[in-house]
Symmetry: C2
Subunit: 191 residues, 2 copies
Amino acid sequence: MSALQTIYRHPLLTAEELEIIFKAHRKITFNKGDFLLKKEQVADGYFCVEKGLIRSYVYDFNGNDITTGFIGKNEIAIDVISLFHRIPSVEYFQALTDCECYVIDLESFQRLYHSIIGLNEWGRAWMSESLFELKQRTISMITDSATERYERLQSRHPHIVQQSPLKFIASYLGITDTSLSRIRKELVKEN
Amino acid sequence: MSALQTIYRHPLLTAEELEIIFKAHRKITFNKGDFLLKKEQVADGYFCVEKGLIRSYVYDFNGNDITTGFIGKNEIAIDVISLFHRIPSVEYFQALTDCECYVIDLESFQRLYHSIIGLNEWGRAWMSESLFELKQRTISMITDSATERYERLQSRHPHIVQQSPLKFIASYLGITDTSLSRIRKELVKEN
DNA sequence: TGAATTTCTTGTCTTATGGCAAGTAGATTG
DNA sequence: CAATCTACTTGCCATAAGACAAGAAATTCA
């Protein structure tokens, strides 16, 4: 099962339509460290991840880089605002490992989006799903301790914890690498 | 200028289309304390706020209510997931003050959404804008101190600080009412 | 392979925020 | 008007996480 099949699964999309959608993508690989998108660039497409791990991040006012998200297998690396509003990105998207992706450019997407009614629905479903997950994360940032957030990340997205350096996970969780190191130590001690 | 005119302003929507859209809404008022939507209910429309302040919140595992957002004049009170996925809400939406809103039900929206191409674009723009703001907030929760978050809320959304009890603002900022009270005291002292 | 770089850990001290409890002031209600 | 409530403040002490710095371990690279 390819990433595309998983990503585009939707009740309103037929096998034929999916075929058309898949064909609009082309395969692209990234080496560890490569950028899929940099700050100030205008995104011209989005990436469906087949293999590997990507990190999105921003710089805060102190110059620290803050991990805003991880994108792994069967997920989409996209800066929604930059792509659809045609404005420069504020985020960086960088490959944490060698990656295999399928990319589709905006023009192709727009064309399909207007001709395949189900894709329209799929897009809205995807966006509202993203909104929901982000909301969950915001609530978690408020109500859960750093330890709890780490444990949840570990159980729900073990591949992130396995593939990403500790400092990126730490900034994603909103703590320093020092603190995360200590949290890990405590968790090991407990079990 | 009514809330509807502000909310639905979009380059692809003509005056005639706007007229049709506006007519699909009906006015509805809420008294302080009324619920627009409760947990477990399936949303059947969304509310464009003309006047007043609404609070959305969830209960965390400890039974504390956590404010997830404030919705004021010219903003939309909506549970995207519940409305479009037809599933029970996890949030409560409650009027903090007497409110005047314009409500549109899902069916009417769907009909317009499929007949007015610009509304389609408007919807996507609205959703991506929401995604962006939520992302900003998540980053702020990580990189800014509680004091900074409060000051920003105060400068960007003074009406919230003016109309909402301190405890709701506190939970929105991710701190206790006690802490927010102290932060306020410090800020007053500084100026 | 050896040097350089990055990653991770650990120690010490500081600080922001929380938990709990008491108390005041203002609003609401019977 | 008195009796409750609710909102807010304040004090005391506990704790999670940060700042800074040193060093160990792992990885990268020439």
